[in-house]
Symmetry: C2
Subunit: 444 residues, 2 copies
């Protein structure tokens, strides 16, 4: 509002802010349903909700290291006085994993382990504007953290749960691609590669730069022999829907303890997931998931019907993430669903069925000749019976009221008894049928 | 995680951030229930959800004017390069009213009017740290915005809805205090006061500085006659539970059109709310709600059982809020529930009943002698039947498993059939009773 007379006519014309999503009510209604469905599914496994502040201390975010700090949005109090702390040590979180790790360390004594939590919150990344990336987005995370060690059964339950969760959304089948970091590390070590991290980083680009590109990188950048580089690429091409991947890897004849441990772990997890529908789970030696805190099983989820879509979920096992904030050994395993990334892409491509603009089931019309207090009482009674009920307040024509209900996608319009009409009547908007109804017993 | 060997042992010990709430899982579970209950209630009136980005352009926030900009948290990209726009034109919203007004202006052509929306989001205020105020908090808002004018029926429906919403929470009775800005403005104008805004601002401090303080302010600061100042204070002391306030005001003999319009509006709203339980609604001439964008009815909600608590909700009618962003005339009326303020105060005072740590209804135990795949199948079957089910994964003693269930507050523990026990059994944790149960038919 204008501060004074001079500015009275000043209008600030709003425009969308690049990277920050905002939906119309009819899309938001679908988004809410999807989020509620995910939450229900998480809770059906007994996971508890935590919600952390939107901000963390910059030192907490930085403790994880890596390039993440480049994408952080810091906060500053606009009205900070000179010398006053302006909130400059605070920044918006860029994922939910770091806040969860900090939470576990901070509240350690008040939690029960294994600690199973889900968390559905917005995250922020200060991506460069020109990249057109999302700067605010929902993630839906599940993690299990335990003291000392986490049962390997969770390495199977976490992705099974994720697949179950996603099967409740209309996004078609989802395929889980799974690997184990120990396989990659052990295999590379067994081949005598010194810069294992560097080699994995290059091999991880397989789907972007192709086989020849990876071989060029491994021989050129790292100076590996052609035969060694070839083996790395061949390893990455192994994909099996059962535990036979292990024999394919062993056939290379690479002898390494870590490799063998990784093969055993992944075999165990594959067998625990054998009850899932065939084709749902793939042991995929090309999955590396960067190279920061994962130490065992790693996951990536793909939408089968949309092969060009980004990863729908990702995660893995970490032995030392909470260790940045606590001397306790608190390993964990978790998965993060990139909710907004998937939802917004599907919406923008017109692949999400959009329904009404509001949750209303019944609109109670108010026509001349009706006693307003009775109309209001009708709406209250229907509402007390658990229905979602709007009352039309404006004194407008029947036509205007019907147009309102129709545009908003309200399925039923209720006409209370009035001087001209002794019974209540309900109109079904889809068919146009109208019939007498009892306010105490009617159901949609 | 450490970036290199040197930092390996560096631990960043996390601590709470002043002004940013974070709950343990058992409190969060209650918070979720409360928020869900509010959402259900909003939807039972057919209000649609919108969710706006956490940020607005600073110009949008500033367009509302007033002192609000002092409390804004601006964003800056920590990794911004010299000359690059660092997000400096963006700031976190400090309420949900301004974002709603901006949303309506921006999406005007895609909305149906009257536009009824609810919005439950976090807001941020960069309060000075030493004040110990909340810097991140949930608000739950409802507003109706219409083209040209908003039916006065909404002035009654909005607070009725709010009272209904709050009656579903265990916070005891809530009393609505209601006034109309036109009454204050008209009365003051009718008394010949020139600086009406200034006078209302002083009178608004009645409960802080008392009658004498207000009179001192009005006579001293504004130079009003003692008799005029007295009338202002007398007006503010009028409180009635029915529409009789109007006669009490008229008894002053102040003649003013705006005053009369305000009395008529408030009378109308009081009568529309006459169906509510006696004592729930008070026409209260001391309510002013600052003096920024409200132009008609104004509301304040108080917890009857906690008279020292801050306002639980507040709001009013505004004729020109959306006008900061659009040339359309889009008046509205709305209420904002200060969710976190109330919830956190009740929690901290121990007045909220805290239950279990997790939503789990049944924990399926896994004991030696059980085939793991059958245990897992039991958990899946119960889950498919709609129950919230955890499976215990660690190979630990019965005692350890029972301790886990007990500490988390899980009400039932399931023992699948195994080599020693031919039937499934369920233990009721509260009573210790254990009996045979059928996985296909058992209910809690």
């Amino acid at each position: 509002m204008a501060k004074n007379g001079k500015d009275k006519d000043k209008i600030f014309k709003p425009r969308p802010i690049s990277g920050f999503l905002e939906w119309l009510p009819e899309v938001r209604l679908v988004e809410q349903k999807w989020l509620a469905s995910i939450q229900d599914a998480f809770e059906s496994y007994g996971f508890c909700s935590i919600e952390t502040p939107s901000v963390e201390e910059i030192e907490v975010l930085a403790a994880k290291g890596g390039d993440a700090d480049k994408e952080i949005y810091g906060l500053r109090r606009l009205a900070a006085e000179p010398g006053e702390e302006d909130g400059g040590r605070l920044a918006l979180h860029y994922d939910l994993t770091v806040p969860m790790a900090r939470y576990v360390a901070q509240h350690f004594g008040d939690l029960v382990f294994p600690f199973k939590r889900y968390q559905m919150q917005r995250c922020w990344r200060g991506e460069r504007p020109q990249e057109g990336r999302m700067r605010e987005f929902y993630q839906c995370d599940i993690d299990v953290v335990d003291m000392g060690e986490v049962s390997l059964h969770f390495d199977a339950e976490i992705p099974a749960m994720t697949l179950d969760v996603l099967s409740r959304l209309p996004i078609g089948p989802v395929r889980l691609h799974m690997n184990n970091r120990k396989i990659l590390q052990g295999f590379y070590q067994g081949l005598g590669i010194e810069d294992v991290v560097g080699a994995i980083r290059i091999a991880d680009k397989l789907d972007k730069i192709g086989h020849d590109g990876v071989i060029e990188g491994l021989t050129g950048e790292l100076g590996l022999a052609q035969s060694v580089a070839s083996k790395c690429v061949e390893l990455a091409s192994i994909q099996t829907e059962d535990a036979s991947f292990a024999d394919e890897v062993r056939a290379f004849g690479v002898d390494n303890e870590l490799l063998e441990a990784g093969l055993e772990e992944l075999t165990f997890v594959m067998l625990e997931l054998a009850h899932l529908k065939p084709g749902t789970v793939v042991a995929d030696m090309s999955i590396a998931r960067g190279f920061d805190y994962y130490t065992g099983t790693v996951y990536e989820g793909k939408l089968v019907d949309y092969p060009d879509f980004p990863t729908v979920f990702a995660g893995g096992r970490y032995d030392n993430l909470v260790g940045s904030y606590s001397r306790q050994k608190l390993p964990g395993v978790g998965i993060s669903i990139g909710f907004s990334r998937i939802f917004s892409k599907l919406v923008k491509e017109g692949r999400v069925e959009i329904g009404p603009m509001c949750p209303t089931e019944v609109m109670v019309a108010c026509l001349p000749g009706s006693a307003r207090s009775e109309v209001a009482a009708t709406a209250r009674t229907l509402r007390e019976r658990g229905l979602k009920v709007e009352m039309y307040h404006e004194e407008k024509s029947l036509k205007a009221q019907m147009k309102y209900a129709s545009r908003k996608g309200i399925p039923y319009v209720w006409f209370p008894a009035n001087v001209e009409q002794s019974e209540h009547e309900v109109k079904v908007m889809e068919t146009g049928e109208q019939a007498a109804a009892d306010v105490e017993t009617w159901t949609p």
